[in-house]
Structure formats: structure tokens, C-alpha cells
């Protein structure tokens, strides 16, 4: 069943092994005078993502540091979601989507020939806007990832660890076999986070994870994120500027550029800096207007 014509992979010099290696957790260059956050999970260089040839975001360059929470903020339609979906190649699934420029993940180009999107997504997890638990039991929701990736040893332990990590274990330990749809919205979203943790990713992408949740559930997810950043690198898209201010270390502000002739909206990166600076002393006039609520 040919979905796409892919070139045979083990023909020439290309390594037959997975081209993506799991980065070593503590690869710090101690001793060298390396500034803080010298290590980057993602380095984007001139990234333009288009749908059917029309750019949704244009020429984005930024570097996302390890163990940071990096927030992408901006008005609706500025391409935040498009941009975050470039980071684990979820855009591949949308017909007509294409990405130009370089997206480096620990120095490896995610869009290079021979990089398998499935391998990318094993390392870079994603949490979506609307909680999307599978129509299965709580246990099977978590166990699905490890099962399909062949991590079948100590599955029960793995499920428990993931649920504990997502601060959900105490709430669900007595009803692991019940359907995930019986949970509240906030619990469902934490289940989706736990599901993502169960396959032991390196980075986690969150696309407006709290937009469908009440303030209490939102607070729980934010606490969880602050806990998770000790071990994972997190990129979050959010509409909510207070949320970006509360949880993120760095913030990228994107803005819509309207092309008068073509009437086409394209997202551009306006400013990327420490969150504190973005919210208190931004360099760009447009950023200031947005974070102070004058526009947007």
C-alpha cells in the first residue's frame, strides 16, 4: 500500500541504523567557560513552514535550550502551532505541508534525508490542545506507547512510574481498568502527559495544553511542567500570557504579518528572550504592546 514513494534506505553510504541517537543526559562541558544554557535541544535556522506553498510562518530562527520551558506566544493565526509541529514532524501528516530551513535536534537535522519521522516522534513527545485519550482503559492508554515501541519489560512498573510522574497515580491507582473517558478534562490531559512520559522522551511539545481546562486543572498542569523540566525540555504554545509568565524560562513572541497584496497571513518571530525580559523590558515596541494588552 504505497502512501508515498520512499527511496530505498540501505542502498549506499547511509547508515542503516536509526540516524537519531538518544542524547546522553548529562553531556555538560564542565571546566570550559561555557555560558549557562549552552546546550540546545532545538536550533531553528530560517525555518519557513508552508501549506500548499503558502507560508504559515516565515524565516524563524531561534535556539531552544535543554531543561528550559520555552513558550511560544502571539495572537491567533501567527503560526505558533505550525511552528511547534515542525519540531516533531507532525506537520508531515497534513497534506500539502512543507518545511524549509533547518530544524536541528541536538545538532541533527530532523528533515534530512533518511531521518524517519516515526523515530523523531519517539524522542519528542507531544501533548495536544484538547485532551485526546484513547478509547481504552487508563492502564492501556499509558501502556500503548511502550507496547508499540517494544518496551514490554516491567510494563506495570512503567505505567505506575509514568502516572506518578504526571502526579496522577494517587487519583487513579484504584481504577486503572476503567475507561479513560470517565476522567475529568484536567485528569485526561495529565493522562496524555503521562502517556507521553511512558515512552521516555527527551523533549515534550505542548500545544496549548490548558486551553480546554478550568483554572484549577491548569494550575496542576503548570506545577507538573515545572516539575518535569528537571528532566525534560519543554516547548509550550500558549494563548495565555500569564501562563507563559508563570512557567516559562524563555519566551518567543510571534506576530501576524499581513501581506496587503496577497491577503495572506504569515507568522514572523518578533522577539525571543528571557521571559522576564519579554514581560518587563521588551526590546521591540510590538512585543510591549502585546504583553501589556494594547494589541492582540
Amino acid at each position: 500500500m504505497a502512501e508515498q514513494v520512499t527511496e530505498p534506505r540501505q542502498d549506499s553510504k547511509a547508515e542503516p541504523e536509526a540516524p537519531l541517537r538518544r542524547p546522553i543526559a548529562a553531556r555538560r562541558h564542565m571546566g570550559d567557560a561555557v555560558p549557562e544554557r549552552a546546550e540546545y535541544v532545538f536550533e531553528l535556522d530560517g525555518v519557513t513552514a508552508s501549506y500548499h506553498g503558502k507560508a504559515a510562518v516565515r524565516d524563524i530562527s531561534l535556539r531552544i535550550a535543554r531543561n528550559d520551558i520555552t513558550a511560544l506566544i502571539g495572537p491567533s493565526g501567527c503560526g505558533k502551532s505550525t511552528l511547534i509541529r515542525c519540531l516533531n514532524r507532525m506537520n508531515d501528516l497534513i497534506p500539502g505541508a512543507s518545511v524549509e530551513g533547518k530544524v536541528l535536534y541536538h545538532g541533527q537535522d530532523l528533515y534530512a534525508d533518511g531521518v524517519d519521522a516515526v523515530e523523531v516522534r519517539k524522542l519528542i513527545g507531544m501533548v495536544f490542545q484538547k485532551p485526546n485519550p484513547f478509547p481504552k482503559s487508563i492502564y492501556d492508554n499509558i501502556a500503548f506507547g511502550p507496547r508499540v515501541l517494544g518496551m514490554k519489560d516491567d510494563l506495570e512498573d512503567r505505567v505506575e512510574q509514568a502516572l506518578r510522574h504526571a502526579a496522577l497515580w494517587d487519583e487513579v491507582k484504584d481504577r486503572l481498568k476503567t475507561n479513560a473517558f470517565t476522567m475529568s478534562g484536567g485528569q485526561q490531559q495529565r493522562l496524555c502527559i503521562a502517556r507521553c512520559l511512558a515512552v521516555n522522551p527527551d523533549a515534550i511539545l505542548m500545544d496549548e495544553p490548558c486551553s480546554a481546562l478550568d483554572p484549577i486543572s491548569t494550575g496542576k498542569i503548570e506545577d507538573l511542567m515545572l516539575e518535569l523540566k528537571k528532566e525534560y525540555s519543554i516547548v509550550i504554545v500558549t494563548h495565555n500570557m500569564q501562563q507563559a509568565g508563570r512557567v516559562s524560562d524563555r519566551t518567543a513572541f510571534l506576530m501576524v504579518e499581513l501581506d496587503a497584496q496577497e491577503k495572506h497571513r504569515t507568522g514572523r518571530l518578533v522577539e525571543f528572550d528571557e521571559t522576564e525580559k519579554i514581560f518587563t523590558n521588551p526590546t521591540d515596541q510590538r512585543t510591549e504592546e502585546y504583553v501589556t494588552g494594547k494589541v492582540g
Partner: protein, 288 residues
């Protein structure tokens, strides 16, 4: 406010008209049912189900026809479930609908669902009974012919069931690093089984009443044994009913009640299948 009198009269008149139409349908159906039950209820007995056809109307029964129908349904199901589900998966998950050949397949499947059943009978005769496969007029050929007939129904129902699984489920699975096939096999298919099963049952309940294609592929009208294998000759309930109706009755051998009894057996089977389909649909109906 003054115009409301005529408006209300129109409204009332229209309602009465619609109700009348519904009433007419139900009334006709009811009359038919009452007539058949009156003729055939006396026939329904263990002996009736357990006797073969006979020239002596008093001893005749539907055993060969009933087992023949069950064999046909079994063969039909074994054929349509894998082929229909696989086709539905291809068309929903893999086929690129911007390509002309995929659109051609789609339009053709819609059209095939509306082709008269006798045409499938001729197809079965030419390709299964004689011609390339030359199976002969056996129960396997009959079951496969019925399978071809209802395959479009299964494909269409399967596609609808697969399409009803929200994209967020696929995204969630793919984002975990599952492959496309793992996503389809472990998420999409399990979530669409109730819809697919409903479609299969409805397809079978269309097949169970088909007479014309079976006559063309050579179902026997008078048989006094059950099918013993895929290569046995066979008859089926609709054929048996047709045979009984077409025989001249007299005081000694009255076949009319036999036909009515056969219709009742067929109808009970059909209603049971539809009941299972409805139960499945309600039981597993999901709100996403």
C-alpha cells in the same frame, strides 16, 4: 396575529397528510404480516425446522433450506469481512483522493452498491460456477456471489466507521512514535469495530433475502440433504419459499402454508440479525 389562522390550518393539514403516508406504509406492512402469520404460524414447529423438502406437503420442512442459508451466510461473512475491511482501510487511510484512479474506485463502489442483484448472479455464473474458477453450482459459489453483491455495502459502512474515529486519536498515537500501521491496527480499527460489525450484519441481512442471484448460480429447488462441504449442492430459504409458492396446490398437497411458514422463519432470522445490529450500535455508540 390575524394571519395565524390560515397558517395554523396549513400546518395542521400538512401534518395530517404526512401522518396519513406513514399510516399507509405501516398498515400495508401490518396487513402483510397478519396474513402471513395467519397462514404460516401453524407450520412453525420443531418438525418443520427438522424436515427436508417432500412431495408430501404434510411432511415437508425447511431443514435443507435453513442450513443452506446458514452455510451461505457463513461463507459470505468469511469473504466480505477481510476484503471489505481492508478495502475500507485503504480508501480511508492510504488512498490519496486527489489522484484520479482513487476517485474512480470510489465512484465505482458507490455505483456497485446499486447494481441489480441479478447482474451479480450472472457474474457468479460466468466466473465462479463456470469460466475461470469452474466451481460448479455449489454452496461456495453461491456464498461468494452473495459476498460480491454485498461487498460494496460493507466497504461503505466500514469507511464511515473508520472516518468516525477522530483524527486526534490518530495524532495521539503517531505522536508517541507509533507507525501508521500500528496506529490503524491498534487504535483506529478497534475503535471502529462496532460500526464495521453493524455494517457487516446489515450486509448479511440484505444477502439473506436474495433469491435471483442464487437461482442464476444454480441453487437447487428440491434437495433432501444438508450441505456437507463447500462443494455440496445447496438450496436456501428464499429459493425454497419461491419453489413452494410456484407449486400448484390441491386439497391433498397444500403448499401455501409451507411457504408462509418459510417466510416466517426467514423473517425471524432477519429481525434477529437487525436486532443485533441495533444493539451493537447503541451499546458501543461513542461520544468523543
Amino acid at each position: 396575529m390575524s394571519a395565524s389562522w390560515t397558517a395554523r390550518a396549513k400546518d395542521l393539514g400538512f401534518r395530517a397528510l404526512l401522518l396519513g403516508c406513514v399510516g399507509l406504509c405501516v398498515l400495508l406492512l401490518g396487513l402483510l404480516l397478519v396474513d402471513i402469520v395467519r397462514d404460516g404460524a401453524g407450520q412453525l414447529s420443531f418438525d418443520f425446522l427438522n424436515s427436508f423438502a417432500s412431495t408430501n406437503a404434510g411432511q415437508a420442512g425447511v431443514e435443507a433450506a435453513l442450513t443452506g442459508t446458514l452455510w451461505l451466510m457463513g461463507i459470505c461473512a468469511v469473504f466480505i469481512v477481510p476484503v471489505g475491511v481492508a478495502s475500507a482501510i485503504y480508501l480511508e487511510e492510504y488512498a490519496d483522493s486527489t489522484k484520479w484512479w482513487n476517485r474512480l474506485i470510489e465512484v465505482n463502489i458507490q455505483n456497485l452498491a446499486a447494481v441489480p442483484s441479478i447482474v451479480y448472479g450472472i457474474l457468479g455464473l460466468a466466473f465462479l460456477v463456470r469460466g475461470p474458477l469452474s466451481l460448479g453450482n455449489v454452496v461456495l459459489a453461491g456464498g461468494l456471489t452473495l459476498g460480491l453483491l454485498v461487498l460494496p455495502v460493507v466497504i461503505i459502512a466500514g469507511r464511515e466507521a473508520i472516518r468516525a474515529v477522530p483524527p486526534s486519536i490518530r495524532e495521539g498515537s503517531l505522536a508517541l512514535g507509533a507507525t501508521k500501521w500500528q496506529t490503524i491496527w491498534k487504535q483506529v480499527l478497534p475503535a471502529s469495530i462496532p460500526g464495521i460489525a453493524t455494517g457487516v450484519i446489515l450486509a448479511l441481512s440484505r444477502a439473506i433475502g436474495e433469491t435471483a442471484p442464487l437461482i442464476v448460480v444454480g441453487a437447487a429447488t428440491f434437495i433432501a440433504f444438508n450441505p456437507e462441504g463447500l462443494d455440496s449442492q445447496f438450496t436456501a430459504l428464499p429459493i425454497q419459499i419461491f419453489d413452494w409458492i410456484s407449486r400448484p396446490s390441491n386439497d391433498v398437497n397444500n403448499y401455501k402454508p409451507l411457504a408462509a411458514g418459510g417466510i416466517l422463519v426467514l423473517m425471524i432470522l432477519l429481525m434477529a440479525m437487525n436486532a443485533v445490529a441495533i444493539w451493537l450500535r447503541n451499546r458501543y455508540e461513542r461520544k468523543w
